[in-house]
Symmetry: C2
Subunit: 218 residues, 2 copies
């Protein structure tokens, strides 16, 4: 008994206390760091507990299973990660909308690289924990936006291009800078940390993709 977020018997509202809120946050923040660096199997509960500044049994009081932390984290992250896609406005100017989307994704890649790596690692390993999410939430959203892009192409506002592959290309390219950070650093060296690097990256990526899909004279 006394399982966190589980009432005495079956009273409904599942209230959370102040302490629960603080500690769950501490745990999830620590876990994001560790999971994104070492992957699910490579992470130990002790590592997370240590980083969160509490004992292992205490951590397990809030999340009875290692899996629980991991799944909670993924769910929390995914919504946020997908949000920019939903914001593409079907009524806006195609090139401007995609410019905005790509810019947002590059910014997120720099500001939350752990989230990107957590997700990348999960998908790379076959998405065992989120394959449902992918088919039930991601697919419909992408289908929706793909239809918009396809319409834009039909209206001659974009060069003929497969919308799905375009979306994949944007994801791949923007997340590359988070997921393959060490490789980027190994090759570009000290430039990576420097102030203007994100802008330089954005400029390069935008230039290629947007020119690649701008409507072309026949």
């Amino acid at each position: 008994m006394a399982r966190a977020a589980k009432k005495k018997a079956n009273e409904a509202p599942e209230k959370t206390t102040r302490i629960q809120e603080i500690n769950r946050r501490l745990i999830l923040d620590a876990a994001l760091d560790v999971f994104s660096t070492y992957g699910f199997r490579g992470t130990t509960i002790d590592q997370i507990a240590e980083k969160a500044g509490m004992s292992k049994p205490n951590l397990l009081y809030y999340f009875p299973r290692k899996q629980n932390i991991y799944v909670t984290l993924l769910e929390e992250t995914l919504a946020e990660w997908l949000a920019p896609l939903a914001e593409i406005d079907p009524e806006g100017d195609p090139i401007e909308q995609l410019r905005k989307y790509i810019t947002l994704k590059i910014n997120m890649s720099e500001s939350h690289p752990e989230a990107s790596r957590l997700f990348a690692n999960e998908v790379l390993h076959g998405a065992p924990a989120i394959s449902d999410f992918l088919s039930k939430h991601l697919k419909p959203l992408v289908d929706d936006k793909a239809a918009v892009i396809r319409r834009w192409v039909g209206e001659g506002k974009l060069a003929p291009v497969d919308p799905y592959h375009l979306i994949f290309m944007i994801w791949a390219t923007t997340q590359h800078y988070a997921d393959f950070d060490v490789q980027v650093r190994a090759i570009m060296g000290s430039q990576v940390g420097r102030p203007g690097f994100r802008e330089q990256t954005a400029q390069a990526v935008l230039s290629i993709i947007l020119n690649g899909i701008r409507p072309r004279p026949v």
Copy 2:
């Protein structure tokens, strides 16, 4: 004693027997499968041994440490994985050379997705086993080809574009189809397996990137 590939005392030539050759191959093939699916930490020696059809101690007779298998595999794979980049001909036609390179990479992504995932996983986790390789071999090669691309840009044969970001974009995009395969499948469904899919992918990627870097009228 009787350590494989270690002679009685110190006689030089390190000969390998027929059986050694067969079994090392069996182990490495099995290991590629397992490591690329579960990552280093997520893989157990027993899994590899089972898949290779031999007992764990026997496997350890050929590779005394788990790390040995992993590193051998990475080394074997990396050279092959990088080869297409080296083939870019500085004297060839820029668009044609890059078309060839991108096509090769997409084909590799489909024919050897495990290699791509093995590598992706390693880099994603900070490249602990190959950071030396990245700075000593990959960087010089990329620097070299970046210089070529920069020259092409200078000669007006390509639109102004940062060569490093262009290379990253090609890597990201092509390897995406191997590394994020489950996601691609979740979204594009049965299309992925179908015969023409690779060609369709190649066409889309080539169209965007090549049009994105084709020299533009001022």
